[in-house]
């Protein structure tokens, strides 16, 4: 049997879909409500008192477009970390799946694809909410789901690789504090990174979330030539994380 069979990947994703049907209401509710709360707090709150606009963009729209990245990382890296750990250690789900004609590469690919697709939908919610807050719809926004998908695939791979590496679930606290939170804080979602020290700015360029934020703002306010490189970087990030996740999961699942 060949590698990466669509039937195997589809089968694993159908399991995720069957489970998602049992909890989608709660997840979707929080995904829609969170950006509204953030926009009300940061966007309207700050713009009314401290910041009117950033780089000629009303602050509420600046934050709204930036929050796409926040939605993507929180609906990809965290579910991948916790979901993978729970399915492996507590539910023994992977033991059952791997007893069927499914290999680890197909399992990881399917999990990443499912999380990526879901996060790309949830990632668009802040953009839609921001439109309600006055952002003009633009044709370039139609590419935002694609940017979200590439980024979410990468962070799903990151989360799966972490879950396959840690010994205990509470070690996720270190990962969240050391990687996830700093990544989203220096993504440029809430403030422009060109206000940061030069060294930090250089590091921020390696942050996939920053690239996503720039691409989303490109979709809303006009693309630049460099955006093609940004997207290529996100695709490379997803590919590298995919291979790392497969490798880590093979080490974890196959004795």
């Amino acid at each position: 049997m060949r590698r990466l069979e669509p039937a195997a990947i589809g089968g694993v994703m159908s399991r995720e879909l069957a489970n998602f049907r049992t909890y989608w209401r709660g997840t979707t509710f929080s995904s829609v409500l969170e950006p509204i709360v953030y926009l009300l707090a940061f966007g309207l709150g700050l713009s009314a008192t401290l910041v009117d606009e950033v780089a000629g963009v009303p602050y509420v729209q600046f934050v709204g477009t930036g929050m796409v990245a926040t939605a993507v990382i929180f609906s990809s890296a965290l579910p991948a970390m916790f979901g993978t750990f729970v399915k492996h250690r507590f539910q023994n789900t992977y033991e059952a799946i791997l007893a069927a004609p499914v290999d680890v590469e197909e399992l990881v690919s399917a999990e990443m694809l499912w999380i990526g697709l879901r996060a790309s939908v949830y990632g668009c919610v802040p953009l839609l909410v921001t439109i309600l807050f006055g952002l003009d719809p633009a044709p370039g926004m139609l590419l935002v789901p694609l940017f979200c998908l590439a980024t979410a695939l990468g962070f799903a791979g990151f989360g799966i690789a972490i879950a396959a590496t840690v010994a205990k679930i509470d070690q996720f606290n270190y990962v969240t504090a050391l990687f996830v939170t700093p990544l989203f804080l220096v993504s440029g979602a809430f403030f422009p990174i060109d206000e940061l020290p030069e060294g930090v700015q250089a590091v921020a360029q390696l942050n996939p979330l920053h690239q996503l934020v720039e691409l989303v703002r490109g979709g809303a306010f006009g693309y630049e030539g460099i955006d093609l490189i940004r997207f290529a970087g996100l695709v490379a990030f997803a590919l590298v994380m995919w291979r790392i996740a497969v490798s880590r999961m093979e080490a974890r699942l196959i004795d």
């Binding site: 049997m1 039937a7 195997a8 589809g10 089968g11 694993v12 159908s14 399991r15 069957a18 489970n19 049907r21 049992t22 909890y23 539910q91 023994n92 789900t93 033991e95 059952a96 799946i97 791997l98 007893a99 069927a100 004609p101 499914v102 290999d103 699942l253 196959i254 004795d255």
Partner: protein, 299 residues
Amino acid sequence: MAAMAAIELRGVVKRFGPITAVDGLDLDVPEGICLGLLGPNGAGKSTTMRLLTGQALPDAGELRALGHELPGDSKAARAEMGVVPQLDNLDVDVTVEDNLAVYARLYRVADVGAAVDRALDLARLRDRRRDAVDELSGGMRRRLLLARGLIHEPKLILLDEPTVGLDPQIRTELWTLIDALRSRGTTILMSTHYIEEAERLADEVAVMTHGKVISRGKPAELIVEHVGRETAEVYGPPDRLATVRADVEARGLAVRPAGPAIAIVGSERAGNGAIPEDAVVRAATLEDVFVMLTGEAAE
């Protein structure tokens, strides 16, 4: 003509660091039989199962399942075998029929709906098909787990401790289902540490300890070979049991502990006066074989 082997293991070794879980294991399972892999905890039964599903890679030896070389051709082998795990790993929030449908897809079943209906009938859960799994009783969940492993009508089934931790009523229910599969000629490899399970279901039993099969045969043959026809159980205070034990061992008879008693195996071979008059003499069982061979208490 000898039946073709559904499973062939030759000199299989599997180590976990300093521990050798499977130690030069040779095992053939002919098509159409139920082989019980009987052994205490840590004997290497579950590792053997994992080797057969490609979830553990051997350090040495050769493995074949349904004609496929393992682990290289493991995926093709897994497509033709069904696995019922020791631990319940059903998706508890998902409905009964969706649990089955997911695995029908994973096993590439052409008609998913028909396979789900067939599995529901087997598990006797047709009227609970739209209920979430966590609404089912323990017995229903076990039946569903078994039906899930059979969703693609496999030629070979691996049952890893299928009734471990279940109450006697549920265990009997499952035995009926497994016995029906055996009657249909499905090849079954069943690991267990329950003597009664092996006696009732297995055509042949392989006694495993420390990663090796140390004896194999039909249950009745194993009993005659290792412990004779009768066992005499002697009850009493520890001092008396120690005296009786020393006496019968001096006469060349084998003795094993049996809870509050001692069991003198092969008691029919004892000379006059060797067996205390108050001993309870019974037919020898597979439990006697298990304890004599492995040195472990039976369950």
